[in-house]
């Protein structure tokens, strides 16, 4: 069974975030991983994907998808459970760039939010399989368990008003009743 322990999955970006925890060991660990921020994505692909994910879950008073670590989630799963989706991501991100350059002559990541919304809507209309995958993976990264690199600090669960950490060991039963054996 593939390990899902957090330590195995940290990218440099997460190391930087984790640095806030003040661990010297973690901080020194990032020196030799500077060559690439991502396990699968190129820097260009990551910028494009971040723009798409942040249209799927934009920032308001709570973080956007990329701010909550959704890219860490998708990038690391493209090395694990989602290896089979690599080709669709490559294709979809290329198409996103192509549409963006064709309409506005610039990379998707450089457009205004309104323009990005338009491009992502076009992706939904014309690149359905890729868009649905990216949409579902964004939701998983944002609303799923933080152990996989997304939902940083359980931010979406806090947003929904769920107690974090969750209550455990609640004794809402009456030991004086029942149990006939």
């Amino acid at each position: 069974m593939p390990s899902s322990r957090k330590g195995d999955l940290l990218t440099r970006r997460q190391f930087v975030a984790a640095g806030a925890l003040g661990s010297a060991a973690i901080a020194s660990g990032c020196r030799w991983s500077q060559r690439s921020d991502w396990q699968f994505l190129s820097e260009d692909q990551a910028r494009t994907l971040a723009a798409i994910c942040d249209q799927i879950i934009p920032a308001d008073q709570f973080p956007s998808a990329s701010e909550a670590g959704v890219l860490n989630y998708i990038d690391s799963q493209l090395m694990r459970s989602y290896r089979r989706h690599r080709e669709l991501y490559r294709h979809g991100l290329e198409q996103a760039q192509a549409i963006s350059r064709q309409r506005y002559g610039r990379d998707l990541a450089e457009l205004t939010p309104t323009q990005q919304f338009e491009i992502v809507s076009a992706l939904e209309a014309h690149e359905g399989p890729f868009f649905t995958l990216a949409r579902n993976h964004t939701m998983e990264g944002y609303y799923g368990s933080p152990r996989h690199g997304g939902n940083r600090d359980a931010v979406s669960w806090r947003m929904l008003g769920l107690s974090e950490p969750p209550p455990l060991g609640r004794a809402q039963y009456d030991l004086t009743k029942g149990g006939s054996q």
């Binding site: 069974m1 899902s4 249209q55 799927i56 459970s81 998983e140 929904l160 060991g169 809402q172 009743k177």
Partner: protein, 550 residues
């Protein structure tokens, strides 16, 4: 390897019970299980990798690599399904089987559920049939299951249940907020709400403590071991008897037969992938409906060229599960109290008696929805993405209730599984292949049930509701899979007799949901368990050392 009296294949709901009953009766037993033995320490509470939400794989098996199945679409085109995909119809692969991680609803079927043909006639094109055994014959074994596995709940609120001699051994968990919202509404509608029977400790029982009411239940192993499956009840008893050896990580390849056509043992791949032969006086197949049928079909020999029990092409037919339909209600007040397991209240008023319709199903509130489950259960006109979706998540996650239920499926002979002619698993064995569907009457009934769920939610104060129903293109067998080795009296129209013994081979038994003639309008686990106690009782009664009384 030393010859034993019995080999039981599959350590799930049924196999664990059979192993316990046989070993306690004095038979030497080898219990084979393809998966590992997990414990409470393996409860990772991973929203994306458990046995219900499997986007990152199945937590309790099988793993995606090397375990494909095939499904055939309506146009006749075959497709590969991975274990973590819905079309695979997965249950689990581990000690305890589905009972390690199930939601643990522990229902008795109703007396009519065993007499569907007599009650309704046969819808044209269906294979609706009566069981050869009745509710009354199973009743003592339902009770045995309730007390040995450990069930909490309270049937006193409803007249819609079969006769029973003893109450459940544990009281229900105290009501959660959804129970308190839904109970008076159901009563106002003239319905009979009550506490769902659950294989979950509400008080200390069997040496383990009660449920701590956390958010992560259905699909997860229980962190405090308060959920009762075969892995923490009957299997430990079997092992303590001194007569049972559990071999985990062992995958059965085929049932071996002798020149007289009797079972002589099992060939299996051990945990190191080596082919082994275990000889025995009798063999019990308890691998769940799909894998049990596959093993019979893959056990071919000169005397059984089409597989065991398959002389009349019956193995794999009548594949069924449940057609889940229901509704989401959206409220202007908080319905969410974070008190697990969430599912708490049910009605069985609608299991039978809908004019002009066959069968029906129980309706109950859903297990606690984790945020990832809510993503696609927002009000109907919510955009799939964007700020409006995010806002809707905030607006509705704690102000919604889902009522859902397992509509009884009307089986067909053509809704079935076979083994694929070309696709093989990592051991080189032909894999299960699904085609056909259950009878369309099932979907009409499901639609009616969904509207009833919506009406209950509306009465409870929902401002609006979303219906969850439809016509799935593929049989939805999944964790409730059943029916592939039908129990019956006619050897040409069934695979096993009323004692779960193959018509063809007197020392070979199929004891699990495969034998269910129909699958009730309830979660099937307790019925699988009751049938396992019942069949074990016949088996040990007729056992005379090295063979059977004729």
């Amino acid at each position: 390897m030393k010859r034993v009296n019995a080999i039981v294949i599959g350590a799930g709901a049924a196999g664990g019970i059979v192993a316990k009953e046989l070993s306690v009766a004095g038979l030497s037993v080898v219990l084979l299980e393809r998966g590992p033995w997990y414990t409470a320490a393996d409860c990772k509470k991973d929203d994306l990798r458990n046995q219900r939400t499997t986007v990152l794989g199945n937590a309790f098996g099988p793993e995606d690599a090397g375990n494909p199945r095939v499904w055939v679409d309506e146009a006749g085109q075959p497709h590969i399904a991975l274990p973590s995909e819905g079309a695979y119809q997965n249950n689990a692969a581990c000690v305890g089987g589905g009972t390690l991680s199930y939601g643990a609803q522990a229902w008795r079927y109703l007396p009519q559920d065993f007499r569907m043909r007599s009650t309704y006639g046969v819808p044209p094109g269906s294979s609706l049939e009566d069981w050869p055994i009745s509710y009354d014959e199973l009743e003592p074994f339902y009770e045995q299951a309730e007390y040995e596995i450990g069930i909490s709940g309270d049937y006193s609120g409803t007249p819609f249940h079969g006769p029973r001699k003893r109450p459940l051994p544990m009281p229900p968990l105290p009501p959660n907020r959804e129970f308190e919202i839904l109970e008076p509404a159901a009563k106002r509608l003239g319905l009979h709400p009550f506490h769902i029977p659950m294989a979950r400790n509400s008080v200390p029982y069997n040496g383990r403590g009660p449920c701590m009411r956390c958010r992560w239940c259905c699909g997860f192993a229980c962190e405090v071991d308060a959920k009762n499956g075969s892995q923490n009840t009957v299997i430990p008893v079997a092992l303590q008897s001194g007569n049972c050896e559990l071999r985990a990580g062992c995958m059965a390849k085929e049932i071996l037969t002798d020149e007289r056509g009797r079972a002589r043992g099992v060939a299996y791949f051990d945990a190191n992938g080596r082919l082994q032969e275990q000889l025995a006086d009798l063999v019990v197949v308890s691998a769940c409906a799909i894998e049990s049928a596959r093993l019979l079909l893959n056990s071919k020999s000169r005397l059984f060229p089409n597989g065991l029990g398959n002389r009349y092409d019956q193995v794999g037919r009548h594949l069924q599960g449940h057609h889940y339909t229901g509704a989401v209600g959206y409220f202007d007040f908080e319905t969410y109290d974070d008190v697990g397991p969430g599912a708490s209240i049910a009605i069985s008023d609608y299991n039978h008696g809908t004019p002009g319709m066959s069968g029906g199903g129980m309706l109950a509130n859903e297990f606690i929805r984790l945020p990832i489950h809510m993503v696609d259960r927002l009000p109907d006109r919510t955009p799939r993405w964007g700020l409006a979706h995010k806002q809707a998540m905030r607006e509705w996650h704690k102000r919604s209730i889902v009522i859902i239920g397992p509509t009884q499926q009307i089986p067909t002979a053509e809704g079935r599984m076979t083994v694929d002619p070309t696709v093989k698993d990592k051991w080189g064995m032909p894999v299960a292949r699904f085609q056909g569907n259950v009878h369309p009457h099932t979907f009409e009934m499901g639609e009616v049930q969904a509207r009833r769920a919506a009406a209950w939610l509306t009465e409870a104060g929902a401002m609006h509701t979303s219906i969850m129903a439809g016509n799935p293109a593929l049989v939805s067998a999944g964790q409730h899979q059943a029916g592939t080795c039908r129990m019956g009296t006619d050897p040409k129209a069934s695979v096993v007799n009323r004692d779960c013994q193959l018509h063809d081979v007197d020392n070979l038994f199929v004891i699990d949901s495969s034998v269910h003639v129909t699958n009730g309008g309830f979660n099937p686990a307790l019925t699988i368990m009751a049938v396992a106690y019942y069949a074990s009782s016949s088996l040990t009664r007729n056992w005379k050392g090295t063979g059977f009384r004729s």
